[in-house]
Symmetry: C2
Subunit: 657 residues, 2 copies
Amino acid sequence: MTVTHIQLANAIRALSMDAVQEANSGHPGMPMGMADVATVLFTKYLKFDPQDPEWFDRDRFVLSAGHGSMLIYSLLHLTGYARPTMDEIKHFRQLGSPCAGHPENFLLPGVEATTGPLGQGLAMAVGMAIAERHLNAHFGDDLVDHRTWVIAGDGCLMEGINHEAVGLAGHLQLGRLITFWDDNNITIDGETDLSTSENVPARYEAAGWHVTSCDGHDPDAIRFAIEEALADPRPSLIACKTIIGYGAPNKQGTAATHGAALGEDEVAATRVELGWDAPAFHIPPEIGEAWAEAGQRSVEAHEAWKNRVSGSADKAEFERRIAGELPDGDAMQTYLESLAAEPPKVATRKASEMSLTAINKALPDTIGGSADLTGSNNTKTGATEPLTRDNYGGRYIYYGIREFGMAAAMNGMALHGGVIPYGGTFLIFSDYCRPAIRLSALQKVRAIYVMTHDSIGLGEDGPTHQPVEHLASLRAMPNLDVYRPCDAIETAECWALSLKRKDGPSVHALTRQGLPPMRTDVSENMCAKGAYRLRPAENDCKVVLLASGSEVHLAVEIAEKLESKGIGADVVSMPCWELFEAQDDAYRADILGTEDDVLRVSIEAGATFGWERYTGSDGLNIGIDRFGGSAPANMLFEYFGLTEAAITPQILSALKN
Amino acid sequence: MTVTHIQLANAIRALSMDAVQEANSGHPGMPMGMADVATVLFTKYLKFDPQDPEWFDRDRFVLSAGHGSMLIYSLLHLTGYARPTMDEIKHFRQLGSPCAGHPENFLLPGVEATTGPLGQGLAMAVGMAIAERHLNAHFGDDLVDHRTWVIAGDGCLMEGINHEAVGLAGHLQLGRLITFWDDNNITIDGETDLSTSENVPARYEAAGWHVTSCDGHDPDAIRFAIEEALADPRPSLIACKTIIGYGAPNKQGTAATHGAALGEDEVAATRVELGWDAPAFHIPPEIGEAWAEAGQRSVEAHEAWKNRVSGSADKAEFERRIAGELPDGDAMQTYLESLAAEPPKVATRKASEMSLTAINKALPDTIGGSADLTGSNNTKTGATEPLTRDNYGGRYIYYGIREFGMAAAMNGMALHGGVIPYGGTFLIFSDYCRPAIRLSALQKVRAIYVMTHDSIGLGEDGPTHQPVEHLASLRAMPNLDVYRPCDAIETAECWALSLKRKDGPSVHALTRQGLPPMRTDVSENMCAKGAYRLRPAENDCKVVLLASGSEVHLAVEIAEKLESKGIGADVVSMPCWELFEAQDDAYRADILGTEDDVLRVSIEAGATFGWERYTGSDGLNIGIDRFGGSAPANMLFEYFGLTEAAITPQILSALKN
């Protein structure tokens, strides 16, 4: 007996509705609506090998409409991935099951990206498609030659980030990116015409995409549309006209199927409607076999690829790249020693550029960029030619005024592997890309954010451009390392740390204004401890000054003043809270001192929020807990009381009490 | 002598280049490029009265490309506003001058919105245009009948929020919104084709806009395009082909004019090129008079409007609305008493809906909405019909999946006045609209955010949808009140407070899950104090439990357990840190107790970041400092240790030490 397309697709529908029903929670409508498209893609086109989910030259598939997670769980299970098992599917949305409410890349091999925050899946796919073409340019078709496929819903298309992602993909003409739009006319609130009147195909065409459409329930039409997309050199949008919750006789086509279990009666009625006799969580053997067979389609291609890699002259470098390991060599240490020999007085954004000059020369993995602030973020170096549609081998991306799209693309590149993305904007605009920074942290990827103009030190542009609460709000985010170096040596050390860290993102908060050198000893990466005693007290220590970035030299000035009065003061430079928290209790206690013995003072040109963790109940927190102003930077530091003259008296007064 | 268009326009160019030169900082290119368009708009079309910048029926003009701030400062000065004075213009970008780097609505009457964070100006203008049509529907052409004009640059158009704003405006067919696109082909990094290949007009047309174009230096062409836009029922985009830095003979048309002073030589050369003989900061009298005359164009219309208001039957209500005062009445107290009589066990999102039901009935000013989570955010009530292109009088907006666009539109409505906007999304997606929340706070507007599903209590949707660091990151933002009520009564109190607050935004963080009632005394709005002793210790007080929202009832459980062991424990409900900080020292000390006497414990299902401010050096911080998980809510509370059984032993152990 030949298994038909509809039987294959109904296997997805059945698993999806049954798992949601069992959990009594979830989104059956999307997987049921897109089952036909996904079946065609996974049984005819997608290049993958369930035995090796990490096969580097596999096609990438991103379920941007992540709420339809049962679609990907069904596909992975049916095509023969080791996980999820049927038992794990039965425990959809339960504690410990890798079948989480939304697909999590860190829980399940085969899930290429964590999706659910709408719009970001497609935007990450753009980054994957960039990384693919870039590596193809360097390693050739033999080693890197795959596609990126996306399923996106109306939510993904309405989000602002979609505009940025689509614009970037069109500009770079990423022809190997193909997006299926689940054009089902339904959002959570009801029919799409409640909130949108957009001609979506026309918008994509305006951005330089190829657009076609198909009946999303007709396998031949789906194939025809895919063939058309494959033949076109532009990125493609395939508008798939579908019925949400397809097969549920009383609910299909309505928002009722979107985000809730169908209910037992409707599940039963759907079985009848679809002609699906098998009990819940049971796949009839012949259908299971047909799916498993589809999962083996690319095994030969995989073998051939492995042979090509084995025979390649680039094998060692290629394997290093895809493993994400840094090359041997001491370029960074050489650079650090050159700094120590002649310590420069530079802004840390400039110091970052100097670090990057050393890094980009030694490390071909980096792809830099900026959201239209190249000269201000100091992100471009001589070694990095622009990456363009005519030169995918370039290593610098002019992202345009697309902070969120940039950050999401960086996530996609990091997830793809083989490259290490860094990208710049002003620290204030970390807010614009914050949802993607969160996904960097959640997904545990090495995305490196270069965020300059990190305080009122930005000066004249004023409060709309001066971060105040941003350091605090980024430090509050789990699994994100926030660096704020105080000079060129610390900047280089922080760069070294963020490159070494494979399992999470980093933010470098950097100054616009020049900063004096604070240290010359480069025998140890002191930033690795998060905080360290930069300048120990000379007199009996009564004050511990905790500062980061541009306020470290201010702390030194204050310490000198205090010492001149016979009051000992340690200066602690604190470039990274997260790394300090990771030190043992003894180290932290030694650095912070005992509250009974010393007054702890934090000094940072930003919100004091959070600093009480280190300064304690009786400490002093010097910072800015209101919005900034427009004036030259030095005037602002004076206005906001961030000067030795303003701070020392507060310390003396606190010491008296 | 007749003053020509070019002379009027050159006055703007001269003031702009001279002020930037004097500050040696700023953006001359945009004001010089758009001087002709602005001249036509301000001398022929814009309805305004410099003697009364707050005239309610004035046209609104938003400089979305806020970096070109000298354009608006020049226009306000030239048309006769009391400020900025020429001296203030000379102090452009200096401490204390209202001529800040970017235009700030709170510094200068006539600046309708704080702009600079790109894309948000146009998105706020959409909100203004909505408010105008809405009030027009209620009060008629006699009282409300004006337009909203925008100048936007390439940056505004590339930002993701532009897609959301344009989609919303097209859907609602806001025909009285006219946007000039400064189509100068230049961004900071260089020519636009570095980063974009978009067909902008086609995209706007796809969103339902009318699009036309003109030579942005030809006054007749500009007028012609405006007439076309005025005649079209759709929102209009006028692509104005301009030369950035127009008039600077050696730099015009290049990125060099974008963000830096031209330099003295080029300023001098520009004077020659433009035929502008007057010295810096000097406007030739006849040109000054012509500009001043243009500023008087609408004086008669203003008088006529005042007369119509005086004669209107709606006068009192209209004046109350535009003053932003709440109506008399005790609807809220009546509602609170009904709650006290029969305290419900409901989720606070449901409690918010119940509050809104009372509010929306008593307060016609509210315009609610949700970013496609109406049923989940509980934002729609019976009194609020949808606001649509066919019924601008409606009071509920289906914003679609456009969190950022929604928040910016809310800012625009609040800035416009006459309405009080509130809008909903999940708390996790506060990240998506965070840049607009910041502008709510900076601009001091009454925008009210209804942010539900405020913790792991969201349950099965998992870590992408569970806020962890969001309360901390919002509390770190200046001038934002963050409420997290613990039951229906607190929810109503918080609503009352956020409505009363005219000078800033509020966030309501609300639960998905049901919560037991905690209080029945409604004689005083206890939330107004930010934190209060909900349940005083019975035994000798040894522990102060600080909790918010869904953890307050947990704190009560823990207190009961401690009391059963003879240990006195105060339970402090802390719905709003900002209001607690505003209390006097004595009150705060009384609530928090002395560290020597009591152990302070914070309990909140989110990051502990920041809580040390209240718990001190020896306190205990119970929370979640990592990402959440996918499971039913009660399982997650147990998994993350947020149960009486998990917390009480930690307190007992801390008490021993």
